[in-house]
Subunit: 462 residues, 2 copies
Amino acid sequence: MAEEQEEAAGREDDAEALRQQRIQEVLLAINAADEHRLGRLLDEMHPADVADLMEQVGDRTRQLLLRFWGRDIGGEILSELDEGVRAEVIEALPDSVLSEAVLDLESDDIVDLVENLEDDRKDAVLDALPAADRVAVEQALNWPEYSAGRLMQREVVTAPEHWTVGQTIDHLRREDRHLPEQFYHVILVDPTMTPTGYVTLGKLLSSARATALKSITEHSFRTVPVEMYEGDVAYIFNQYHLISVPVVDKDDRLVGVITIDDAMAVLDEEHGEDMLRLAGVTEESSLSDSAIETTRLRLPWLAVNLCTAILASLVIALFEDVIAQVVALAVLMPIVASMGGNAGTQSLTVAVRAIATKDLTVSNLWRVVGRELLVGMLNGVVFAIVMGVVALAWFGSAQIGLVIALAMVVNLAVAALAGILVPVTMERLGVDPALASGTFVTTVTDVVGFFAFLGTASMVLL
Amino acid sequence: MAEEQEEAAGREDDAEALRQQRIQEVLLAINAADEHRLGRLLDEMHPADVADLMEQVGDRTRQLLLRFWGRDIGGEILSELDEGVRAEVIEALPDSVLSEAVLDLESDDIVDLVENLEDDRKDAVLDALPAADRVAVEQALNWPEYSAGRLMQREVVTAPEHWTVGQTIDHLRREDRHLPEQFYHVILVDPTMTPTGYVTLGKLLSSARATALKSITEHSFRTVPVEMYEGDVAYIFNQYHLISVPVVDKDDRLVGVITIDDAMAVLDEEHGEDMLRLAGVTEESSLSDSAIETTRLRLPWLAVNLCTAILASLVIALFEDVIAQVVALAVLMPIVASMGGNAGTQSLTVAVRAIATKDLTVSNLWRVVGRELLVGMLNGVVFAIVMGVVALAWFGSAQIGLVIALAMVVNLAVAALAGILVPVTMERLGVDPALASGTFVTTVTDVVGFFAFLGTASMVLL
């Protein structure tokens, strides 16, 4: 494991080094105001890397880069940019350049690009599109945000069910210039445009011309409804190893197709959101946000946390008298809280991850809850003994050792329970289980921990 | 956002309901010992869903299921199972069934399946394979774990650079039965088997027979070295929207190809690992582990956390006298610790995520650090004012209000710094930045927080 990590890190450093060198060259060209050289460097780079570079440089550098090279910016780069930076860049581009850039994108990328533009810019871009694309984009924009309808590309490659391999290939040859950039299946449709199966291009290529398409369709075939949440679409791709999936409207008619690269991007975003939300960071945040913006985004959860922390303090306040007499309690309090918070976070994270991967379901919920409780108690007993001994040795009081030992068992058991029940409950309520569950779990562990610790203390020591 | 969440939840419930219904039917069939019905139900399900079901049911049910149906278990199901459950299932299967099951897998899946078997079982499986597959698997097993070599499939579809579309299609037709299940490109190779480009099957199908392959190759073409860490491979797929990538040895010779569905699975695992490690949970854990096993996996980080918590307590112990005189301090301590821990976790998570997505690099590190520090101080000032007022109102002491206000500013600033510097440093050291950074960050915030709070208190109040 460690070894693997080091190797990985080593390799990352190499790749990183190359990236950095390239970035330095670009920065030099910018500072030298060498438009020609800058253009050559950026044209050589992959749009995704140019986008990363634009996100990583400072605002001033980015503005210079745009001034020198903005006219040549391609649509692919725009669609790779983070929301924040993209808005800033698009802001700086004249409509003509923007429309030009958008022309070389597929409809799904155009949708992603224009959905957040103000109406006037949006219209400017749409007006510049060929009629067909414009209609496609406008229709896509009618589907709910984060739905399959927004994710799919409208360009589909279909064939009547009764066709043969030969007919299909001849048709594709004729269709040439109308074919989408990427497609991996030919979708079989009946006369009502309802998808009834699909054939991989590999099978198509390797089968005799006379072969009937119907005879070489894939078992993996399935469709998704156009309103499906994009996160669920990504899950289906990953679960069933799909490469592309036809999207159908409520009448089961084919309206588009989603390819795995878009699904992978969604999976990546979803994971990032879960991780950040667990930590009480809104998922809109990005490294390129300003300090003010970032503060605005993080402050709300800190405020929530303050309230819950004050709640814990109120519990302590109930026991001021015993603390005043036995200051050792004040010294040990943070250990109880910290251990509870840690154990709670462990089960919480496992639960949130399991919910995201659909591994935690009603069929195993109670078994898992039981397991977590048992784990919590086992760890509780272990650390009760350890801390009991430590406290005894430290303060020479068996009573204090007993008190913290008891608190440890109670707190770790409760932490384990809260860690799984909080996210599960939130999910039942239709709330994202990752959404600041952390704060709620630590509140429970703090309150229960302090109450158990100081409560038993006031009984045993007074 | 909220609305989207609810919709998503709603849809998940539907899908979930269907899943659960199917699971209930299977359980009924098992309890009724109705082998025939059980077989029919399971055969209708996707291997991935059968695998999930086997992970979610209890041990006893799983054993029954294996007894009634084990003989019919397919290789696909085995390769979908979690490590833990898979080991248990394979344990229960006779060599004959295991070898049979493995036969219908591609070499990459066989590798994934046998790499964790004990040698005798491994040999039993390998012996059952056709010579070619056996060699392929054994060679793959020579590549380091978590490397591209383990992830790739050996079955590749190549064509000499100078071929035309027609020649290639005719060749594929002849090759039919040797073609891999999934392939999306024909890889162009020179006489030394060095890949020089690739052609999508879509282009191949839509181009005239006379077209030279060279004239329709993809710009996106790139190869990965066979030793590359699988996580980096996944990153490249996601960054450059690849569908499949040729894998080359150190002499640049083609040794295999990785397809995006495998890369997506790796991306998914990597995310899960990051998330769990951040919470101090080793990534080997799975919901199907026993309570004992789970305790064993979680205890170590709790132990580390105990040591760091004791460290924080030692700081408090330094100020026993001031606490004894002003118990209000003991009441307020947890607020300082909790706010620091929370702010620290926020920047930590953002940093870990940014490192994983390679958005945090040497070129923007210091800008980001500066931003985090500023954010920390801004939040610090806000909550200093809030808590100052609260403390004043609560304990009627302007001094206590002043003390906690000061502690708040210091602690949130330090928390923000630690949150980003800890993971960055770990990464520089070649350690996974997600690995328990959380514990280290909260240690820093606890120690600094208590020191700032109680230190200023003892100066101001004594």
